[in-house]
């Protein structure tokens, strides 16, 4: 484990333990404790990474490989947005308020564990913790859809856990060690790969299922659609990205895809990534429910990250990491906005909605910022990450992949424009007649995230320096 970041794992865990006791008589205390914990962590991280002296030094002072720090930052940012949003979103009558915040904090510490672990078994343990908290979180409100989504998530990702543990066993037998470093050294050496690669391939398949890559994506739409609204943002924004996508990027760097040691695996991963892009985008075109459409969009965007990870060149890894961060920002905005729409208009059926821009201008505008970033419109952050990914594909000579990735970026814009038109533009429908703008605290997280999107796009050179530093450290 990366000891330097251990505090970010332990403190939320501690808060999660305290919350049920502290808030037994004063439920509001749970909100405050959770938010304060995450805000303090975030402030600490900002001090660590964003001091002017650190920025001026090209982030050379960042401890560890830099990737863990970046992802911990993303985890805290998204979780803070979700908890802050939840504090005003959760109805007074929800009985398990304390449990809800405890679960979120546990999932935060599990995610920190995932990104700081340095061997496969620790990684597996934290991923399982994360999965268990996710099942519970999906069922926060006891509607039937939540329960169905949770069960599907559990059963359909169950093979993933099995495959990961089998993969670990195979690796233990063939390599004799489970640390990342030993796998990295093994792949760098000239020894015949054989069973080691096979074990890695099994683990990789587990992570692919967890990430919701087509054709193992089937749990994702139901889980995201059925889950309690802020939980969808938490799940789609960060949880599945850390438990699946981060692990895929990590495997891609460890297996050294860029020097062709695991050619077949690399090609398979890229193909699955492209398949995800295509199927996710095409399915999103025809969805009627806002949250379900966002779920398919999420599948499609995960495809870009997996495609880049499968390529594995330093530039592609940079693009993948950057797109992972960007995806966390814009998908959080869109899911939180869908929660606002649900709260205000009472439905997320796009055929029943319309003309909400008049009554909900903030929600509408932040959606526009987020969707333009997703579609890769300059100068927003999504443009840069997609540009890097497509450039990396082109540079590697995979022109067909590059062209398709670009083309489906246009389809992304198409389905988001249709969504924006159906929900926010046009004439008001009966459902949206009496739907006022949600209160300012509910808007604050999405406005903050939109600001982050714009800032990441405009301050791209600084961010690029950081991500390049990360790519250099994890690939050398």
């Amino acid at each position: 484990m990366d000891k330097g970041l251990l505090a970010y794992l332990l403190i939320p865990l501690l808060s999660a333990v305290i919350i049920p006791f502290a808030s037994r008589n004063r439920p509001k205390l749970a909100d405050i404790l959770a938010n304060v914990t995450l805000l303090a962590g975030l402030a600490n991280l900002a001090w660590l990474a964003l001091r002017p002296s650190v920025i001026a030094g090209g982030f050379a002072d960042i401890p560890g490989d830099g990737l863990a720090l970046l992802l911990v930052g993303a985890v805290y940012l998204v979780a803070l947005c979700v908890t802050f949003f939840s504090a005003w979103f959760i109805g007074e009558g929800l009985p398990n308020r304390a449990a809800y915040y405890s679960l979120i904090l546990v999932s935060v510490s599990a995610m920190c564990g995932v990104v700081t672990s340095t061997d496969f078994f620790t990684l597996y343990v934290f991923i399982e913790v994360l999965a268990v908290t996710s099942f519970a979180l999906i069922t926060t409100d006891d509607s039937g859809a939540g329960l169905e989504g949770a069960l599907k998530y559990f059963f359909l990702t169950f093979p993933a856990s099995a495959l990961i543990i089998i993969g670990i066993a195979v690796m233990m037998l063939s390599l004799g060690n489970l640390s990342f470093e030993s796998l990295r050294f093994f792949m760098a050496s000239d020894l015949p790969a054989g069973p080691v690669t096979f074990g890695a391939a099994l683990m990789l398949l587990g992570f692919i299922i967890k990430a919701g890559v087509v054709p193992f994506h089937t749990w994702a739409p139901d889980a995201y659609q059925g889950a309690y609204a802020p939980v969808s943002a938490h799940l789609a924004g960060i949880v599945t990205k850390i438990s699946g996508v981060y692990a895929i990027i990590k495997m891609a760097t460890l297996l050294r895809f860029f020097d062709g040691r695991a050619q077949a695996l690399s090609e398979m991963l890229m193909f699955l990534g492209l398949l995800s892009i295509v199927v996710g985008a095409l399915a999103a075109l025809k969805q009627k429910d806002l949250k379900r459409m966002l779920a398919f969009s999420s599948i499609s965007q995960v495809g870009y990250i997996v495609l880049a990870a499968g390529l594995g060149t330093p530039l592609a890894i940079m693009g993948a990491v950057f797109h992972l961060i960007n995806h966390a920002t814009f998908k959080t905005v869109l899911f939180l906005n869908s929660a606002s729409v649900e709260k205000s208009a009472g439905t997320t059926d796009m055929d029943k909605l319309g003309g909400l821009e008049h009554t909900m201008p903030w929600t509408s505008w932040t959606s526009i910022v987020a969707l333009l970033s997703t579609a890769g419109v300059p100068p927003l952050s999504g443009f840069w990450s997609k540009l890097i990914i497509i450039l990396a594909l082109w540079e590697a000579g995979l022109k067909g992949y590059a062209v398709l990735a670009l083309l489906f970026s246009i389809v992304t814009l198409a389905y988001f424009m249709m969504m924006q038109k159906k929900v926010f533009f046009g004439k008001k429908t009966p459902a949206s007649e009496s739907s006022p703008e949600v209160c300012a605290p509910l808007l604050a997280p999405v406005v903050l995230m939109s600001a982050v999107i714009v800032a990441l796009g405009l301050l791209f050179p600084y961010f690029y320096t950081y991500v390049r530093m990360v790519a250099e450290r994890i690939l050398l």
Partner: protein
């Protein structure tokens, strides 16, 4: 600042300043324009008198040198351009039929500045820059002269014809510069290009098209008669009569004498072009029933003499062409001014509604008589001398047929001016023109000046030939004999015969037309064969632009529309229906069935494991 810049920059700056002035102010705009033109004229005169001036600076990132050279020919041309600008701005100051004053003077000064630049430019790219600038202001000049649809349509016609030929010029300049390895005309002239191989012939022909189209020669002339009816007399007197002729013939001379050494074939081409232009345009001019339109066809016809003169390629012919260029600008400008004056005072330019105005407008009438005599080549006015030189040059080449064509043109010119003068200034005055008065002094002054120049260049033909034409020829490296002097030889008698024939023709026409001067051309207009030809010409069957616009453009635009529809369909319908199909399929697949999902997951996992395990 180099004095060479004044005639270019001053008009341009003044033109921009004019736009800042309120439309309601009286005299201010006029005075400013006249002042700028006068100062430019003074500067041009001093450039003319000083030894060769030049200015050169790096341009377009240093790759190309922007060079202005005022050699003898350019300085002469600059002087002429400035003189006509001053004359027209004085003439227009109290003429109401010129459109909004602000825009008129803006266009006038812009045209002047760019024309001066085109005359002075030594670098062909710089010349093109100024040349294309003229195109823009040609459009705005016509389009803003009258506020109606016809003016805009004619402006578009003028613009498109000239734009197409300017593109030819652009291509020609590019090829020439490529062959010669330099853009500088003076450098090319040290080592003239020959027409020995295909590319150089192509380049010369493109330059030729650009030059003769600017001069308004057949078949690029068709916008000029339309502009005569759809724009103002002042515009006609300035652009098609003076500036365009000056620049077009100037560049034709540069290209044919200075840049290229032509061969016999190209000489024939040029002379044929000249002769055809003379005859076709003068035949059309002869039967016109409108003052300005008749003059405009003559403006085309006279271009033919200049091309013919330069096409002879011998010094006398070239001198004649250049001399005719300046003479034509003088008397044709004067004639258009008389038409503007008549239009202002009598309210119409329809020949059948005019008559007997000489007594009411004696000075205008006098100017008309002088200028008409000059254009008809009556000794001893300036037109006579320049035509004599052209004739002589033509005879020296040995192609008598071109000489005969030119004489025939001269005959018809005189005949049509007899008709015009008779219908406007003599005969019976219509009832509604009883109170017509003479035009104001500001219109008479430039007319009188130009008529005076016609007389002066005629009686003292030695002056212009020695001061203007000879240095220009020397500057282009053409050696030449004595050019001036009245020769009492057979050419003089031929001209007398032509005059007598024209007068007789007019008598016959009058007798057949029932004594009405405006119908004195009807015996030729309605002669067999010619009648049908004229009818077709009236229907614009021979107008290449109209034919293109009527026949070709609708078909091409329809085809392009179809192509556009196809692309629209391909870009719109195909992706959306494909997206709809796949999206719908995908949507119906994701039906929430747990067994289906689980089966898919397990099946795909099995395939993955087999592939990862080494199965190929």
């Amino acid at each position: 600042m180099n004095i060479i810049l004044i005639p270019i920059v001053l008009p341009l700056v003044t033109a921009l300043a004019l736009l800042l002035i309120c439309e309601k102010t009286k005299y201010l705009k006029e005075l400013l324009a006249i002042g700028a033109a006068a100062v430019s004229l003074l500067a041009a005169a001093s450039i003319f008198l000083l030894p060769v001036q030049s200015l050169s600076c790096a341009w377009l990132g240093g790759g190309i040198t922007f060079t202005l050279v005022a050699d003898n020919l350019s300085a002469f041309l600059l002087l002429a351009v400035s003189l006509f600008s001053l004359a027209i701005s004085v003439f227009s100051s109290s003429n109401p039929n010129k459109g909004p004053a602000k825009w008129f003077f803006f266009n006038l000064l812009m045209t002047q500045g760019f024309a001066a630049g085109a005359a002075l430019a030594d670098n062909m790219l710089a010349m093109l820059f100024f040349w294309e600038g003229l195109l823009v202001f040609l459009y705005t000049f016509i389009a803003l002269s009258q506020n109606n649809h016809a003016a805009r349509r004619t402006a578009m016609k003028a613009f498109l014809i000239n734009a197409a030929t300017d593109l030819a010029l652009l291509a020609g300049v590019t090829i020439t510069a490529y062959i010669a390895g330099t853009m500088s005309m003076s450098e090319i002239s040290h080592n003239k290009l020959t027409l020995d191989y295909g590319w150089s012939i192509f380049a010369y022909v493109l330059l030729l098209i650009g030059a003769v189209s600017k001069a308004g020669a057949f078949p690029f002339h068709t916008w000029i008669p339309d502009a005569a009816t759809d724009s103002s007399a002042a515009f006609m007197a300035y652009v098609p009569a003076a500036i365009d002729k000056l620049l077009g013939i100037y560049f034709l001379a540069r290209a044919s004498i200075y840049l290229f050494t032509l061969n016999g074939t190209m000489q024939l081409v040029l002379m044929t072009l000249g002769a055809v232009t003379i005859l076709v345009a003068v035949m059309m001019a002869f039967v016109q029933k409108d003052y300005k339109r008749l003059l405009s066809y003559h403006a085309v016809s006279q271009t033919g003499y200049m091309i013919l003169g330069i096409g002879t390629l011998n010094p006398i012919g070239i001198a004649g062409g250049l001399f005719h260029m300046i003479n034509h600008a003088t008397y044709k400008s004067c004639l258009f001014m008389t038409s503007g004056s008549v239009e202002r005072q009598a309210g119409t330019t329809d020949l059948s509604k005019l008559g007997g105005l000489f007594r009411a407008m004696p000075i205008t009438g006098l100017c008309f008589l002088i200028a008409a005599a000059a254009i008809s080549g009556i000794a001893p006015l300036n037109g006579f001398f320049s035509k004599e030189l052209v004739y002589k040059g033509t005879l020296d080449t040995g192609y008598t047929v071109f000489f005969l064509a030119a004489e025939l043109g001269s005959f018809l010119t005189l005949a049509s001016f007899l008709k015009l003068g008779h219908s406007v200034f003599f005969g019976e005055r219509p009832e509604n023109l009883k109170d017509t008065k003479e035009a104001p002094f500001s219109m008479l002054l430039p007319m009188l000046t130009l008529a005076g120049i016609c007389v002066a260049f005629g009686f003292g033909a030695r002056l212009p030939t020695e001061w203007l034409i000879s240095p220009a020829l020397t500057g282009m490296g053409v050696s030449h004999p004595t050019l001036s002097g009245f020769h009492f030889d057979k050419l003089y008698f031929v001209s007398v015969i032509v005059i007598l024939a024209a007068v007789m023709n007019h008598m016959i026409g009058l007798a057949l037309g029932g004594g009405k001067a405006s119908k004195s051309s009807d015996h030729i207009h309605y002669a067999p064969v010619l009648k049908e030809t004229y009818a077709m010409a009236e229907r614009r069957v021979f107008d290449l632009y109209e034919v293109l616009m009527d026949r070709v453009v609708p078909a091409v635009s329809l085809a392009l529309f179809k192509v556009d529809r196809f692309f629209d369909w391909a870009l719109d319908t195909v992706p959306s229906s494909l997206g709809g199909f796949f999206g719908g399929t995908s949507r119906s697949f994701h039906n929430g069935s747990y067994p289906l999902y689980m089966a898919l997951t397990l099946a795909c996992a099995a395939v993955y494991i087999l592939l990862a395990g080494g199965l190929k």
